[in-house]
């Protein structure tokens, strides 16, 4: 893999995992709000 390939791998790991982590928090907030009957 060339230099750009490693850079793309690293940024995909960083930004992709961050999207999943932040998304999981957003998802849990949404579900908890719904379960206590609060509107978004």
């Amino acid at each position: 893999m060339n230099g750009w390939g490693w850079v793309a791998f690293a940024y995909a790991t960083a930004y992709g995992s961050l999207a999943v982590f932040a998304g999981s928090i957003a998802w849990r907030i949404r579900n908890t709000r719904r379960s206590i009957g609060e509107t978004e």
């Binding site: 930004y15 995992s17 961050l18 928090i25």
Partner: protein, 246 residues
């Protein structure tokens, strides 16, 4: 309604904006670096901020733990818990990005270097912190146990940071915070690194806001669940008539 929506969504907007700016700075910074070699140096602009944010998050966990032990106010425990979860994420990310850097420059994914090993131990200790929080539903007991580990665990932060100075290994020494000034001479490269650290700090603060919001919601849900009376054995079960004299 619009103000409420904006109030709830600003952390997500801040995350997207800050990471976009950091990405642009990382990509336009000069690639050539005589020590680290061409394009791969851009990995540093996410690896270093992730590692610094792990320190910051665990330091906040330490502060929240001390705050709880002094005041016995659960607000401090919520801050410590939220920060520990985010810190575990950033530590895992720093390790993963370090492995990518290691394979591309050292030729190996992992080596038992002091910095790498101590970071891995710190990762597992704080995973243990999160597991410890799940051992009881009693919020006071949980806060007390977690606070003790939150204080003890913080000993690792200086150990990990100074490990590159105290023990010789493959991992390079400090690049920015040094007695003789930053090792990075190119102002654009230094700017890209600082912008990366600032952007990840904005991400951390935004995630903290949302994570604490989630803890408040979960507490409200638990309170509602407890206030609802439920039949112990289900509605289909009735008390048996034993036919005794009354």
């Amino acid at each position: 309604m619009q103000a409420q929506t904006l109030n709830r969504r600003w952390p997500w907007v801040a995350i997207v904006l800050s990471l976009t700016i950091a990405f642009v700075f990382a990509m336009i910074s000069p690639a050539a670096d005589s020590l680290q070699g061409f394009e791969r140096v851009r990995i540093m602009y996410v690896h270093v901020p992730a590692a610094w944010l792990a320190y910051l998050a665990f330091f906040v966990t330490f502060g929240g733990s001390v705050g709880y032990l002094i005041t016995r106010n659960l607000r401090w425990d919520r801050i410590a818990a939220a920060s520990a979860e985010i810190g575990v994420y950033f530590t895992g990310l720093a390790i993963a990005l370090g492995m990518i850097w290691g394979k591309s420059t050292w030729g190996v994914w992992w080596t038992w270097d002091a910095r790498l090993t101590l970071t891995a131990i710190m990762f597992f200790v704080y995973l243990g912190y999160l597991a410890l929080r799940r051992t009881t539903d009693d919020s006071v007991l949980r806060a007390g146990r977690a606070a003790v580990l939150g204080v003890l665990g913080a000993v690792q932060i200086p150990l990990v940071h100074f490990s590159v100075i105290w023990w010789r290994g493959l991992h390079q020494g400090p690049s920015v915070v040094r007695a003789d000034g930053p090792a990075i001479q190119d102002p654009l490269m230094l700017t890209a690194l600082i912008v990366g650290v600032l952007a990840f700090t904005v991400v951390y603060v935004s995630l903290m806001v949302k994570r604490i919001e989630l803890i408040h919601l979960e507490d409200r849900k638990a309170a509602i669940d407890q206030s609802i009376e439920r039949p112990v054995a289900g509605e289909a079960v009735t008390v048996p008539d034993l036919g005794g004299s009354s």
